[in-house]
Symmetry: C2
Subunit: 323 residues, 2 copies
C-alpha cells in the first residue's frame, strides 16, 4: 500500500493553495460535513477561496453546519488548486463528483476508513482515529490555523456523531483530549446537544414504537426480533430510514445478546439487520444466508414473505446462540 503523506506535507500544500474544493461523501454525515466545514472556514480565514461541493441536499440534522459553504455547482471554482476529499475511502463515495475531483491541480484524501488503494496525490489515512474530524483537528494544528468557535463546533459535531457521543469502542484517549480542546475553544455545548440529540422526528418516535410492538424475545431472552413493513411505514407517514435506529433499542435490552430487525423493502423482499452485544458473531449468521458484515453488525436479504424470513432467521439465531 502507498505510504501516507505527512500532515505537514498536506498542510503546506493547503497553505500554498489559493483555491480549494472540499468533497464530503454521499449520504453525508456529521463527520464528513463537520470535517469539510472546519477546513472550509479555516481556509477562508486564511484568505483562500474555498467551497464544499455536494451532489445531494445536506441532511437536515447537520444542516446547521452549512453557513454558506456548500454548493452543488461543479464549476464553482473553474480550475481549483486543490480538490480534497474527506472521509471518503473510495472514489465511489463521491460518484457524481469524480470528474470534478480529478480536475484539481493537486488532489488530497484524508480519512479514518482504511482504504486498499489510495487514489489521490496526497493521502492521509488513519484507521485508528475515531473520526476524520480528529485528523482535521491535527491538520489545523500543523497548519497553525486558529480553531475558532465555529471550527470547534464543526469538529465536535463529527467526533460526537461518529463515536455515539464517546460511547462506541472507537473512542480513544486522543478523542477525549481533542474534545477537551474543542470545549476550551468555547463551543456552545448545549446548543450542539439539542441539535444533535434532542431533535428526534416525531415520525421516527412513532415508527420506533410500532416496531417495538412487533418484538418477540426468544432463546431464553438472549435474542430479540422485530419487523417493519411497508404498511407500517405508510400508516406513520414515514420511510425506512426512521425505523433504522430501532435495532439498537432491541440490542440494548438487558440479557439480549443478538437483535434482529426484518425490514420489508418491497413485497417479497425482506432485508434483515442484526446486532450482537458482546460475544456473538452475527456476520456468521448473515453469511449463512448470503449476506455479510462485521461480527457485531451484519445483514442479509430474503426473497420471500415476512413470516418465512422471520422463522428462518429466528432458527439460525437460536442455533448460533447454542454454540
Amino acid at each position: 500500500m502507498k505510504q501516507n503523506n505527512s500532515m505537514k506535507e498536506i498542510g503546506q500544500k493547503l497553505m500554498a493553495a489559493e483555491s480549494v474544493v472540499l468533497f464530503p461523501h454521499i449520504s453525508t454525515d456529521g463527520d464528513a460535513l463537520g470535517s469539510c466545514v472546519a477546513l472550509c472556514v479555516a481556509l477562508r480565514n486564511a484568505g483562500k477561496q474555498a467551497y464544499i461541493l455536494m451532489e445531494e441536499e445536506t441532511p437536515e440534522y447537520v444542516g446547521f453546519l452549512d453557513q454558506g459553504y456548500c454548493t452543488q455547482d461543479q464549476d464553482i471554482i473553474a480550475e481549483p488548486d486543490i480538490c480534497m476529499c474527506v472521509d471518503c475511502s473510495e472514489t465511489k463515495r463521491f460518484p457524481g463528483r469524480r470528474e470534478a475531483f480529478f480536475k484539481g491541480r493537486t488532489t488530497i484524501c484524508i480519512d479514518h476508513h482504511v482504504t486498499s488503494e489510495p487514489f489521490a496525490d496526497y493521502n492521509y489515512i488513519d484507521g485508528g482515529a475515531a473520526a476524520t474530524c480528529e485528523l482535521v483537528y491535527k491538520l489545523l494544528t500543523v497548519m497553525e490555523a486558529p480553531v475558532t468557535k465555529e471550527i470547534a463546533e464543526a469538529l465536535y459535531t463529527g467526533i460526537s456523531t461518529d463515536t455515539g457521543n464517546f460511547q462506541y469502542s472507537n473512542t480513544t484517549k486522543e478523542t477525549h483530549l481533542i474534545a477537551a480542546e474543542l470545549l476550551d475553544a468555547g463551543i456552545d455545548h448545549n446548543k450542539l446537544t439539542v441539535l444533535l440529540y434532542q431533535n428526534t422526528k416525531l415520525e421516527r418516535l412513532r415508527i420506533t414504537c410500532r416496531v417495538l410492538d412487533t418484538m418477540e424475545l426468544f432463546a431464553d431472552g438472549k435474542a430479540a426480533i422485530a419487523c417493519v413493513t411497508q404498511k407500517m411505514l405508510e400508516e406513520e407517514g414515514t420511510s425506512m430510514e426512521d425505523a433504522e435506529g430501532s435495532i439498537d433499542l432491541l440490542r440494548n435490552i438487558m440479557g439480549v445478546e443478538i437483535a434482529a430487525i426484518l425490514k420489508e423493502r418491497a413485497p417479497g423482499v425482506i432485508k434483515v439487520s442484526m446486532r450482537a452485544k458482546t460475544t456473538a458473531n452475527v456476520a456468521e449468521i448473515a453469511a449463512g444466508f448470503g449476506g455479510g458484515g462485521h461480527i457485531k453488525a451484519a445483514g442479509c436479504t430474503f426473497e420471500t414473505d415476512m413470516q418465512t424470513a422471520w422463522d428462518q432467521i429466528k432458527t439460525a439465531i437460536e442455533e448460533s446462540l447454542r454454540n
Copy 2:
C-alpha cells in the same frame, strides 16, 4: 460559609489513617458508588482497612462495581479513624447512617453539590465539577495512589453517568481530560458501555412505549404531554421508576420546547414532571401550582383526577409559551 480544606490536607489524613468507612448517598448512583469504590480500592491497595457502608441494597445497574466492598453492617469497623461521605451535600443524604458517620475520629465530606453548611471536620466541595468522581480522581493523584484498571472503571462510571455520557452541559474540559486518563489506565470501555447503556429492563422499554402512546402534541408542536397511570404500570408489571425516562423522549422531539408527564402516584394524586429544552422556564409553571425545581426541570402535584390535571397543566404550558 466554611472554607474548603485542600485536597492535600484530605489526602494526608486518609494516608495517615488505618481504617476508613465510606458513605455514598441513599438511592445511590454511579457517581456516589463509583467514587466510593475507587477510594475503597485505593485505600485497601495502600494496606488500609476500608469498607463502603450502605443502608439499602445496591441498585442493580451499578451492582457490578461492588466486588466485596459494600456492607450494611454499621459495626464493620468498631472505631474507624475516618468516616468519609461522598456525593452527599447534606446529612439527610445518609439518614440511616448519621450516627455511624459521626463515630469516625475524623469526618470528611467530598462532593460536587454545593452545600450551605459543611458538616464534616474536613470538606471539599466543588460545584464546578461534573461528578464527584472527578474530585476523587484529583484526590487520588494528590495521594499518589496508582489508578488501577478497577479504580479507573469505577471513576469512569461515575463521570459517564453524571454527565449523560458527556452530553449534559456540566461536562467541562477537565471532564474530558480525566476521561482521557481513565481510558489510558486501560478500562474496558466496551464492557462499561454494555453495562451502563445496553442494559435496559424489558419492562422499562414496554412502559415507555405505553407512555408514548398517550402523547399529545400541542401549542403548534412546541409542547408534548403524556401520562402514566397505575393501571398501565400494573399491566406491564413494573413501577413508576421505569417510566421516569420517558420525559426525555418527549423533550427530544424536534420542535418541542416543553415536555410534561403526568404520573398517577395514587388515585387522585397526580405528580407532574416538566422539562424545557432551550429557553422556556418550567420552574415558573410548576410554581403556579405550588411546585418547584429548576428552569429546565421542575414539577408539581395535583390532587385531582388525571383529566383535570392534564387540562390545567396544558393550559398553563400554552400560556407560558405565548409569552
